[in-house]
Amino acid sequence: MGCDGAGWVGKGLARKEDNRLLRGRGKFIDDIRLHDMLYLKFVRSPYAHAKVTSLDTAVAEALPGVICTLTGAEIANQTNPFIEIGPDPFARIKDYPLAVSKVRYQGEPVAAVIATSPQIADDAAELVQVDYESLEVVVDGEEALKDSVLLHEEAGTNRVWQGIFEYGDIEKAFREAAHVVRIDKMHFHRFSSTPLENNAVIGQWDPKDEHIYYWCNNSFPSFAMQFIAAHLGIPIDRIRVQTFDIGGSFGIKITSYPQMSVCALASKKAGGRPVKWIETRSEHNVSSAHGNERTFRDTRVALDKNAVIMAIDSRHIDDCGAYPRYEPLGCVIWAQVFPGVYRFRNARIDFSQAVTNKCPVGPNRGYSRMQHLWFLERVVDICAHQLGIPPDEMRLRNYIRPEEFPYTTPNGCVYDSGNYPKMLQVAKERIGWEDWQKKQAMARAEGRWLGIGIGTTLDSGTNNFGQSQIVNPNAPFSGNSQGANCKLDIYGEVVVAVGSCPQGQGHETTAAQVVADVLNIHPDMVTVRTGFDTERNVHTGASGTYASQFAVSGLSAVHGAARKLKSEMERLAAFLLKTGEENLEFGMGQQGPQIRAKDTGSSVNYWQLANVVNVNSAVLPAELYELTLNCRYVWRAPFKVPDKEKKYGSLTLTYASQLHIAVVEIDRDTFIPHILEYVAVDDCGKVINPPIVEGQVYGATAHGIGAALMERCLYDAVGNMLTATFSDYTPITAVNIPNVRYAHIETPSPHSYNGAKGMGEGGAAPIHTISAALQDALFSSGIVVSDSFNNADTLYRAMVARDIYQAGDLVKLEKRA
């Protein structure tokens, strides 16, 4: 087996990335300036739904410094519409990167202006004359399903997808139930994790070699390339994508391929000069991507006499905005966590997705699962309150038990490991549960609104793309994979490349830790290439950074490549030292990293090994010619294609879990909710770099708290986005974030080489936790929290205006026992 023994994995190694980032030497896309570069500015629709009746670029083109313009009609003439992942009839829609004859959301680009400076491009964009004829607008998913206003005439409906996920025996469970709880409507709001660096692309369609070169911050390039190649009709090997430092993505930068397409086409029209597009914050907020919005209707919950949930029956409507793009994958991805952390075996979810006149969605951190997990946590808390059972007790009665792992869910997912009761216990200890119970009783006696909420969630990682076949039986995707390369360069340098494109997750550091352990050297001696580059030839079609998986797919690929390299080095060293491979040990010598014969102590260093293979090969016998010391390895997740009819199968490989507890007080004068105490307990199996994991937990927690209390993509009835700037969107700041107490437990995964689980998305645990705490504070006043976004306004409406959240209107309890 070799010596994975230096012990770097599991240590809090300082991040390799920091040296450049701290000195202001990070390389972000807007920092790159190429010879003869041009600048692109989009002309965007102020209307959410309108016909484009005329478009005149002549005045803009006459401005000195303007090179050319590009319109939707021009693009439609020379390209194919983007691939649709979903089935007919929605596969018939025509999605082009610029609107052709109609706009479907506010901010949709209708033209592009290309100029010699960003300032001239800005000026010229204002000179493009566009006339619109406004159309009726639909901004609500349920309303859109009525099809009275159609977005895409080619589809003839706004329903992107619909399917029923049914398992067990629902009707029997309801017949035998001791209690039935009905919840009329709940709603998960639209928000975005808004990475601080906006989308950015430099595209060049080089006429010399007919290649397209991209310098960009897309976070799933191999996916983007598949869309772009089919759309532009050029072989995929002629598209080179490079990423460098990326200023956050959180999934939002996965769907920047339409803008990437426009940059390439603009470059082609401009004679092959590189074209840079830097998105502004307002553009980002109105037109990059938002998270999925979801409405939960007609929920019925069957419980036995002990308040154990026997069945859930519900209808869910997802709103994906104006174009599906990555959708309808979200129509199945939630099913990775179908029962959440709970044991119920009978369930029916009727799931639909609709287009509306809003910004298209993208796979935002916690993608599609957080909406469902929030739904389940609301169900659990509402049932607990209705039945008068404390929320911790309710959970303990319903959690999947530690001895049941690996646990197969009703829909065939296999939860690898976990211990939810223990996490609850750790969280309760950490927050001082008993103490807070007493304080809460005292506060209530004083008339204060103080609530304690629990949220238990899952962060499913390393997805099986076979689930795409559940939404479209003809989708040509399944499994998951990642590539890596580990080599000794000519002078013996250890160099690693991997097909991920990190955005702050510290991949350079953790990859170096893994390789250092394999070779028994210091991580400082391992160079890990920054970012993604197709020409490093390490990517697969699934490469990128998304779906909480680097610790599993990325590091397994790195580990495999390092083992392969080590094996070659052993063969070569055995030949050079004239000894057997079993007599070799890896380590450090006076001339740096080396391989030593245990018996004689004679050694060969990395320079000598690399020298022989690369520039001194006449000393090699023919049987060693196959050695390259340049080893590519592709790791594949052990998945099968799911059963499309039954919607059954393993959809994700690892299940990290989170348990959060919040204490929240609502100010009785201002109705502003304040977090008094917050605990986050995380379990992502064996941890590779503890401070990096802790940092990811803090970050995911901040996103969740921000989403629960401050951040939303708010639209008015005619589709104007009301939170288009940061000043309106108000991303959470240092004065809003509470101190987060972090703790972790470790239940190792059997699926990764060292027991790690993918993590980072964090299941959006704070959204569920804060909803629970608010309900706990106000339930005795007849309030049920049925929306994921809450602020002083919603709480005032609930408690004073009494026009939302009224338990009597929303919830019915039928007690049969």
Partner: protein, 166 residues
């Protein structure tokens, strides 16, 4: 139709080096720093003076350089992130951000460190409340701020220690 405005001559001292330049009157200080001086460590994250990724020191005060015109900086002394290190050695604030994992993607980090620099010049022993207020104008989307609080506390301690002589 807009016309190219005549350039205005300015002189700005950035990180101790004097830069005489001619700029458009509408050019923002952050654009001047990034485009004209090619100091790309100062970043742009929003367009409403919210995020603070562009924070620099101007005549000793932390300012958001997206909300200052380059012409307003005529005659000013500016410190950007590139000016923090001395002869290759990291400034204690830079070191503290690294030691405490106070950064992830690193995009907000230059602005945050400049805000921290001003805070610690004004108040060498800030409590957490003062730290929070000092960086309220700097948005970080990755870290949830927890490790940034620790980093600034750590930097304060480093700067107070006798071994640090500035």
């Amino acid at each position: 139709m807009p016309e190219a405005a005549p350039g205005v001559s300015i002189q700005v001292c950035v990180n101790g080096k004097l830069h005489p330049r001619e700029v458009e009157p509408r050019k923002l200080l952050v654009e001047f720093i990034r485009e004209d001086l090619e100091l790309t460590g100062t970043h742009i994250g929003c367009d409403t003076t919210y995020c603070g990724a562009c924070t620099v020191l101007m005549n000793g005060a932390a300012v958001k350089s997206c909300t200052v015109f380059a012409v307003q900086a005529d005659g000013a002394e500016i410190t950007t992130v590139e000016g923090l290190e001395k002869n290759g050695d990291l400034h204690p604030i830079q070191k503290a951000f690294g030691d405490c994992y106070g950064l992830q993607c690193g995009y907000c980090t230059p602005g945050l460190m400049i805000s921290a620099l001003q805070l610690l010049k004004d108040n060498p022993t800030p409590n957490q409340e003062q730290i929070r207020k000092a960086i309220a104008g700097n948005t970080c989307r990755c870290t949830g701020y927890q490790n940034i609080f620790k980093a600034i506390e750590n930097a304060a301690a480093k700067l107070r220690s006798p071994s640090h002589a500035d």
